[in-house]
């Protein structure tokens, strides 16, 4: 360890070491300078770009969503501006504390908190989420005075969707609600991602959904300089958004209101179409809901109530709920018989009150039968036997082909989403529908119950109104549609949804006349006569009853004996005036009993309003059921045979 003893050399060694240290200092500083040179000269471009992209942020500006008005200009959907209190969770010091603090100056109910929690779960952390909407001016002022206490909380002026007519035509109009993951995927798949950057809401149901990309508009954007916290410091450039297109509907809110009121809260649906062009004037699904509830995130209890109600108010029955059409199927069958040449109008059968097929007996509901029945009378009195025989003669394939031509068993392509195809039974359909071999076989007996609109048949009121419109229009088919024109509010350009006939069904006008006269006969002297007593116009119609509850053989269906939910569904299809039909209506009232009882009086009120301007005093009354419509027991036997 001799090195430790050279004390006399100490100053010299100190100087050497100091010099060495100085060299190391220089070296270290050279390294630093090299690093600066690398960053500031060699990599300058790269870092300059990074700094720019740090600095500049493209902020999308939401376009105004298009308005929706009915054919007379009544506003169905519009936007209004209101203040919301919004929280960006990532910027708060503590979410719970922030909300508690806010509730001291602004009323925040438990409902608001619950909704906030739900939105929070659906959202990303850096989004701002409303805790309260529609602040009053006083509330805005109170918050402004204390806002320094609440980092991450802002009052924002936002446009809200509003449906001024509330529940009126709610299923047709639909609603908008916050974009969820599924919507985002749809937006991406359709290539609209860029345009939806600042958009928070999207049409979920009805026209709002179908015409989403018309209504939405084109987002504008601002180039803003932002700080590290994402706050805009100043605007560098501005591109204005282009507002969405406005929709003018074919819907007539007055007719719609009359029709909705006519239901008086009963479950069911109605479709009213102008046969000359396919314009939908009324589309009722009862009961309805208030679309305004959904706009800023539906509250939990409201959602619970809508979702769990046994009346299923969210279901759009007019397009989605399908049921056997019962006797309303008969005029269609009759036209099919004429068109396929299986019957002449004046050809009559003798109705003994039943039809024997194999070892089965299909019953007419009039004991002893209707006597001699030709086609006109078969419709007026709703004779089952006539159609048992007819169906048997035509065969299921002919029936299916003709009804398919009329538009049944397929989507009508109406311009709202969620339409059901319905069921048009045929051998091929059954083969596809069932898995087991023995179930796949079509039995001739099944054809017979199809002939009177029972069996596997299942259609919506839209289907039935569409088919009847096609008939009274002599086979010219229009796509049912709710939108008449699409207006660009910026250019004023108007696009008319041109009602082009999409196809022609080969129907003979003289055959159509037979059916129209027979249906007029139903109203004049048949099953519809009581509901239309004293009408100031001539209309044609047909009642129908769809069975809900299977009775054992030999039991007679008595409405009072079965529970309300097990009562038959009541159908009525109609057109008016007979000479030159302006309106075709199909109505189905769930558990409404006979067709003439519940459904026909609703159509009476709609026709009264549309053709004479008469407004009804209240919901449509129930009319005592005349005979000639029920066929329950017989159907039971047909079912027995089918299975």
């Amino acid at each position: 360890m001799g090195d430790f003893h050279h004390n006399e050399q100490e100053p010299e060694r100190f100087r050497r070491r100091t010099l060495l240290a100085g060299m190391l200092v220089l070296l270290a500083f050279l390294i630093l300078f090299g690093r600066f040179f690398y960053l500031q000269i060699i990599q300058h471009e790269y870092y300059a770009t990074r700094a720019e992209s740090n600095r500049i942020s493209l902020v999308p500006i939401m376009p105004n969503r298009g308005n929706i008005v009915d054919r007379n200009g009544v506003i169905m959907a519009r936007n209004y501006s209101a203040f919301t209190l919004e929280i960006t969770p990532s910027k708060t010091l503590g979410l719970e504390e922030t909300i508690d603090g806010l509730s001291e100056i602004i009323e925040i109910q438990l409902k608001d908190r619950r909704r906030f929690k739900r939105l929070l779960e659906e959202s990303k952390n850096f989004e701002s989420i409303p805790i309260r909407t529609r602040l009053t001016d006083a509330e805005v002022a109170r918050f402004a005075a204390q806002r320094f206490r609440f980092p991450g909380v802002e009052v924002k002026a936002r446009l809200f969707r509003q449906y001024p007519e509330g529940t009126l035509a709610a299923h047709a109009i639909g609603y908008i609600s916050r974009i969820n993951t599924k919507d985002a995927e749809m937006i991406e798949a359709s290539g609209h991602t860029a345009n939806y950057k600042g958009t928070e809401h999207i049409g979920k149901v009805g026209l709002e959904a179908h015409y989403e990309f018309e209504l939405h508009g084109t987002a504008g954007h601002e180039q803003v300089e932002v700080d590290a916290g994402g706050r805009a410091v100043r605007v560098l450039s501005h591109t204005a958004p282009i507002p969405g297109n406005n929709l003018t509907l074919t819907l007539d809110t007055k007719l719609q209101a009359v029709a909705e009121q006519a239901f008086g809260g009963r479950r069911g649906s109605l479709t009213a179409i102008d046969p000359s062009n396919g314009a939908v004037l009324g589309l009722v699904s009862s009961p309805a809901f208030d679309p305004n509830l959904f706009v800023d995130g539906i509250r939990f209890d409201d959602w619970d109530e809508l979702n769990n109600s046994p009346d299923k108010p969210m279901l759009n029955r007019a397009i989605y709920s399908t049921n056997p059409p019962g006797s309303t199927f008969k005029p269609l069958m009759a036209l099919g018989a004429l068109t396929t040449g299986k019957r002449a109008a004046n050809q009559a059968i003798a109705d003994p009150g039943f039809f024997n097929f194999g070892n089965r007996r299909f019953m007419d509901d009039k004991v002893g039968g209707h006597g001699s029945v030709d086609m006109h009378k078969s419709i007026v009195v709703s004779c089952n036997t006539y159609y048992y025989v007819l169906a048997n003669d035509m065969g299921i394939e002919n029936i299916a082909r003709f009804m398919g031509d009329l538009g049944l068993g397929r989507r009508t392509e109406i311009d709202i989403p969620g339409e059901a195809t319905g069921i048009l039974p045929s051998a091929a359909w059954k083969q596809q529908r069932f898995k087991k071999r023995e179930q796949q076989k079509w039995y001739a007996g099944e054809t017979i119950s199809v002939g009177i609109g029972q069996g596997y048949n299942a259609y919506s009121t839209l289907h039935m109104a569409h088919a009847l419109a096609n008939i009274v229009n002599y086979g010219q088919v229009f796509r049912p549609h709710l939108v008449h024109t699409i207006t660009n509010p910026t250019t004023g350009e108007i696009r008319v949804v041109e009602p082009q006939p999409i196809r022609q069904i080969p129907l003979k006008p003289e055959h159509v006349e037979v059916i129209k006269r027979a249906m007029a006969g139903v109203v004049k002297e048949g099953t519809g006569s009581r509901a239309f007593a004293g009408a100031a116009y001539e209309s044609g119609g047909k009642t129908g009853t769809a069975q809900v509850f299977g009775l054992k053989g030999g039991q007679k269906y008595v409405a009072g004996r079965v529970g309300e939910r097990l009562r038959d569904h009541s159908w009525y299809i109609a057109f008016a005036p007979v000479d030159k039909p302006r309106l075709v209506v199909a109505v189905m009232v769930e558990n409404g009993g006979f067709g003439a009882q519940s459904a026909a009086p609703i159509v009476r009120q709609v026709f009264d309003y549309y053709l004479t301007g008469k407004l009804p005093g209240g919901p449509a009354p129930e009319v005592d059921a005349p005979e000639g419509d029920g066929n329950t027991e017989l159907l039971e036997e047909a079912h027995d045979e089918a299975h």
Binding site: M1, D3, F4, H5, N7, E10, P11, R13, F14, R15, R17, T18, A21, G22, V25, L26, A28, F29, I31, L32, F33, R35, F36, F37, L39, Q40, I41, Q43, H44, Y46, Y47, A48, R50, A51, E52, N54, R55, E225, V226, D227, A228, G229, V233
Partner: protein
Amino acid sequence: MKLIKRIIRGILAHLDMPLFLIILALMGIGLLTVYSATASDGFWKLDKQLVNMALSMAVMLLVARTPPQTLMRFAVPLYALGVILLLGVALFGIVVNGSRRWISLGIVRIQPSEIMKIAMPLMLAWYFHKHESMLRAKHYAIASLILLVPIIFILKQPDLGTSLLIGAAGFFVIFLAGLPWKVIFGLGALAGAALPFAWTMLHDYQRRRVLTLLDPTSDPLGAGYHIIQSTIAIGSGGSLGKGWLKGSQTHLEFIPEKHTDFIFAVFAEEWGLLGNGILLILFTLLIGRGLMIAAAAPTMFSRLLAGSLTLVFFTYAFVNMGMVSGILPVVGVPLPFVSYGGTALVTLMLGIGILMSIHTHRMLVKK
């Protein structure tokens, strides 16, 4: 009149002009940059920094007038006080941001590790000075012990930046005192071998800092954010900078701690490579002058003290600029004479005062 003249002459007598001018230049840069960095918060920080500067200047002048022999008398008491206070911190310290660095002495809160920054080189320089005539291995061992005790306390707080600075100050004294090269290399090899163990001793946040340094992009929103944003600031400054008050990274708040530890990023963004070069030259001059003073110092105590303090200034500057430009891990070390903050400035100016004292008293000692 005479009195004023005497006072001025008295002040000037113990003022080292080159050192003083360099410090003034650095402080000027500091003021400009603090002004830019705090423009958005109002200028009260600038006012406070001016007060800090005046105060630290007074401390410097006071110390400069104090002869090194007197300073030597403070070595042991100051060191002992520092260790006792550090013990107090470990036992009753106040936790701020997860670190136990402060102790409350009734009215004031102090950070004893700050005292150690001066006490450590003072103590070691005194120790070697005392045993100047017969330095043996055991003296180096004891010196190491004197160094390690407070370092361990400070590492435990935890405060990596300060322990690094104090460790460096002590090491420089021992190194300049003549620690044999084979011991230095031997210890270096040992330290290399001990690295894996040290790794397990580090706190989570310290490990994260090291890992983040190796790959800042691995955690762009968390620990890597600081480094990424400060390198963007430096790189985007280019050769001549964006101009004073025009740094977008600075004024849009992308740079964290922009008036304290990361003030260099602000400076580099606005003044570019040219500014950085000037800053490096100023630090080089400062250190060069300090080492000259050390080399010219008459006693072992003043030599070691001056050399060590000068190299500590270097450590400050190098570690700070290294971390802000992304070649060293982020440790809490300010840029000397530039960063905002009173305590650090007073400590630094105390060091400058000692350098001046050593230099202006050298003739007196020789006589």
